[in-house]
Symmetry: C2
Subunit: 166 residues, 2 copies
DNA sequence: CAGTTCGTTCAGCATCTACTGAACGCCGAC
DNA sequence: GTCGGCGTTCAGTAGATGCTGAACGAACTG
């Protein structure tokens, strides 16, 4: 039920591609995209599978990753045995956080590098310090403060649009 | 010549893994890591292949990507026919810029979405607006100003360390 | 000229992973 | 009880891609 139209399907696919460049499975983006624009914002696994023309198997596995990533939440629907999912608000903030967390191996590599390159190689140490600086900088710029700024920005947008509609 | 020691090799591998999480080929990180700490900062393709235990073929193809990404530059060495490469300063700034550029398909997807979801579906439109807001926010926060802040930050770090050494 | 030393290219391989189909277990309806 | 609908799991597949080896071309040496 509620199959996407041709252009809705294109939108879904674009979001899928976008998620792919973010380093996740394309199907994650498809689900996310469809949940954004679908007539019913709450969908079961079978509904998603039907709408996206994918197997229930892949929806089932991928939606768990979405749930783990806090992009989607399972909501109870009284009287239904189906698992209904909908978008979680603040999903993009979680994406921001997740991307920052990915930098950790890099930080550790730089620290490790400094332990093995002696003072007799100042040029090499300088490059390692620069990498450390980069992570310091990014850690501050993309840190909690950054995420809070986004949440504030998002709230302002919501309020502004709500004002325009009323 | 100039094979990496065991721990240098571990560092190289860690940077390789880090690059992998950034969505590039691991070999890119290996080359970049080795150029960071190698005794001679300028290396030819055959030297890199020998040091990393990889084929010249893969070094040749990957280093062109590094060159394209402005992370590495080819430097002339008088009297040598070999192609010598070294790290470019400001490489991380280019990585920042490249990551921002990747958001473009997402922006376009959100715009497209707004053209196909009518005013009769305010909830869906709201989610699309939120995505637009997200890109607006990220575009500002990660924009040119952001990269300039990094470059300033990096310069300060360099100067500070230079002062300490003297 | 032949021989050597480079880097490049291309076909092939190995690996990984997103996705599917089928079997299964669970649970409510009847 | 049996049946049907639902989500999960697992083996298998298809597609992508990082990497190699070998053949090649270009440029210098003798």
């Amino acid at each position: 039920m509620a199959e996407p139209t041709r252009s809705e399907r294109e939108f879904v696919e674009r979001i899928g591609m976008f998620f792919e460049t973010l380093g996740t499975a394309r199907m994650m983006g498809r689900i996310y995209g469809w949940l954004m624009i679908a007539p019913q914002p709450r969908q079961s696994i079978t509904e998603l599978a039907a709408a996206l023309g994918a197997s229930k198997a892949s929806i089932s596995t991928v939606i768990r990753q979405l749930e783990l990533g806090q992009l989607v939440e399972r909501v109870p629907v009284p009287g239904s045995r189906q698992h209904h999912y909908q978008l979680r608000s603040g999903g993009w903030a979680h994406i921001l956080r997740a991307r920052v967390a990915r930098l950790r191996p890099g930080i550790e590599a730089a620290q490790f590098g400094l332990t093995i390159v002696g003072d007799d190689r100042p040029g090499q140490r300088e490059r390692l310090y620069e990498l450390m600086d980069f992570f310091d900088f990014v850690g501050v710029e993309y840190g909690e403060e950054h995420v809070r700024r986004w949440e504030e920005y998002a709230k302002q947008g919501r309020d502004r649009r709500a004002g325009e509609r009323s």
